[in-house]
Amino acid sequence: MTDATATGGLSPPRRKLVELGQWGLIYRRFRKHKLAYWSGFIVLAIYAVALFAEFVAPYSSDRYNPRYIYSPPQMLKMFGRDQNGDLALLYVNGYKVELDPVALQRRFVIDESRVYPVGFFVKGEPYHLFGLIPAERHLIGPVDPDAPMYLWGTDRLGRDLLSRTIHGTRISMSIGLVGVTISLVLGILLGGISGYYGGWADQAVQRTIDFLKSIPTIPLWMGLAAAIPDRMDPLLVYFWITVILSLIGWTDLARVVRGRFLSLKTEDFVMAARLDGCSRQRVIWHHMVPSFTSHIVASVTLAIPAMILAETSLSFLGIGLKPPVVSWGVLLKDAQSLLALTQAPWLFLPGIPVVVAVLALNFLGDGIRDAADPYS
């Protein structure tokens, strides 16, 4: 297949196109969807942050400093001189306490006279990467481990909000995956049975779906949250609630899969595979399923942001994850009070990653869905 005659006289790029399979064609179309393409990188970056949270975050999630309660975000500045007169490439200013003459309250304000050098890959708190590898380097942090560096400010206990948001990424971005995975398995299995076999099996599955769709989820979630004992680990509680909800949430995917099976069952190429003597297994997995895996990938990508939003909003309401656990929703719960609005508006900052993650996943899902059928 290398010489010119064997390629049918086609130029290399053209030849590549005619020999491109399904995934090659999907990727070509996906590449053209610029927004989705770059969103894909953002999603990858977010998951990388979640994976290496201990390394990326300057501090651990529970390190607190009572000397810096509700301190405002610092600006990361370049080229300054510290106390000794040495040049600091990157630095942050320190804080000084100020008495608000109107409210008669102590407040932290930026003290421009103090300079704390900041560096990359600095030594800080020791941690275990992936819970195994002992390490103490952090992506970014103050050169002096005791110097205050709070780029997103601190909360009421003097904990660094940026570090907590980064640590929260792990829970927020992964807890949805559990639910989506369970939904996926159930949806494909039951939808496939329903569509391929039809008849009474189809009836049974479809009526079950109708029943499950009629159950209101939020009251169910609230009831479950109240029913599960308080002593249980809050993460475990949330995990079980997610499992129970995904046992209800597989219905949409099952309907999609059933529809695809119904339409594919009568396609000539499926019939041709049967007449070729393919076993039922081979017809399903080799000839039918590849025709809609891309659709499944798209619907899963679109299901994850829904799960993230559910976690965030339920934690915000206080019926999802609870404080010892760090997630975006839990962090936002701190922003509920009036005090936050007036005195510490930076407590809303964890809302930014929620919006970015949800938007990126939605754009990505849209792109995959549009590219999913390269033959249309």
């Binding site: 005619v18 396609e267 190429f269 590849p290 025709s291």
Partner: protein
């Protein structure tokens, strides 16, 4: 029904259909049967396919042509009747009595080319996997030899062997149908069912494909069952023709005889609808317009199914169902076959025959 009707006079039959019927029952639901009645898509069809011939099956949409082919292939289970196949050892095997698993042994002997080449090739697989699938799953060739065989088949149907790695989207309609033909031939079959195999192709490609099919038949000694609604194609390629109307056979004849002198009024009406591309040629007779609609196979008229639309219908036709019978060396299902002088088409002026 009569054993000998439509059966082989001299040549050995490859496939014998006897009283084959296929009834599609309405779906039973939880709330009962619903109002629809069972559809008798194929009703008492008997004919033989002789080794080496091309047998045409012709009729309007919904007359049961495709259902017959699907019964032969085992996609549909027949409701009654037998389909007997003469295997390579000369034994007659009733395919309808076999289990799904036992039938697999014959799936390599009986092959099909579908109507729509776009729909019948899996867009997710390269040609080598589409054509080679039957060789792979039936372990007919070791994996290493499949590619060579596929390339050889592609060459035989007029495609470049290097195209084996391409996907169906890289082919034109006519080329795709050639891939479909290569898939059917992969197993060295004995009977190839061509289910409207050229109907989706445009006229110039259609002629090329028909000529290819004729060449392949000669080269490999194939037997064709050619299903079509297009009489000019049937006339070009078929040795014998079965005419069906609403699930029943109305006439079986050699192609030449059928076109020259139809014996059944329905055949005559079909023939009169053949387009005549030569403006100088004046039709011998007038175009026959059939009144009314095609009968509903779920609610067939009493007597002859065709009587409400037949210009020769008598009281007898309304009461008594005509059986297929031999009339002057021909096979026809009409009470009045002997008395009618029906018009055929002038073979000499048909352009297909001229350029053939």
């Amino acid at each position: 029904m009569a054993e000998a009707i439509g059966s082989a006079a001299g040549a050995q039959s490859l496939l014998e259909l006897r009283d084959v019927a296929k009834v599609f029952a309405p779906r039973t639901t939880f709330f009962g049967r619903g109002k629809s009645r069972p559809v008798r898509a194929v009703d008492g069809v008997s004919f033989d396919i002789r080794a080496g011939e091309t047998l045409g099956v012709v009729g309007e949409s919904g007359c049961g042509k495709s259902t017959v082919t699907r019964c032969i292939l085992g996609i549909h289970e027949v409701s009654s009747g037998t389909i007997r196949y003469r295997d390579r050892d000369g034994r007659m095997i009733d395919l309808t009595a076999l289990s799904e698993h036992e039938r697999l042994a014959y799936c390599t002997d009986l092959r099909i080319v579908f109507q729509d080449p776009q729909a019948s090739l899996n867009p997710r697989l390269p040609v080598i996997d589409i054509v080679g699938e039957v060789l792979k799953v039936n372990h007919l060739l070791p994996r290493s030899e499949i590619e060579g065989r596929v390339r050889e088949l592609l060459q035989r149907v007029g495609l470049r062997p290097e195209y084996a790695r391409r996907y169906p989207h890289a082919f034109s309609g006519g080329e795709r149908q050639r891939v479909g033909i290569a898939r059917a031939l992969a197993t060295n079959p004995r009977l190839v069912i061509l289910d409207e195999a050229v109907s989706a192709l445009d006229v110039s490609v259609r002629a090329q494909t028909l000529n290819l099919l004729k060449d392949l038949q000669q080269e490999f000694g194939l037997t064709y069952l050619f299903v079509s609604h297009d009489l000019s194609v049937i006339e070009y390629i078929c040795d014998r023709v079965v005419v069906m109307y609403v699930g029943q056979i109305v006439e079986i004849a050699n192609a030449a005889d059928l076109f020259a002198r139809p014996m059944h009024p329905y055949t005559e009406a079909l023939l009169s609808a053949l387009p005549v591309p030569d403006p100088a040629f004046k039709r011998r007779g007038r175009r026959i317009h059939l009144p009314g609609e095609v009968a509903d196979p779920a609610n067939r008229p009493a007597g002859c199914s065709f009587h409400p639309r037949c210009r020769f219908a008598t009281e007898r036709c309304k009461a008594e169902t005509p059986a297929l019978r031999s009339v002057a060396g021909r096979t026809v299902a009409c009470h009045h076959a002997e008395d009618l002088a029906l018009q055929g088409v002038n073979m000499g002026s048909s352009p297909e025959v001229q350029h053939a």
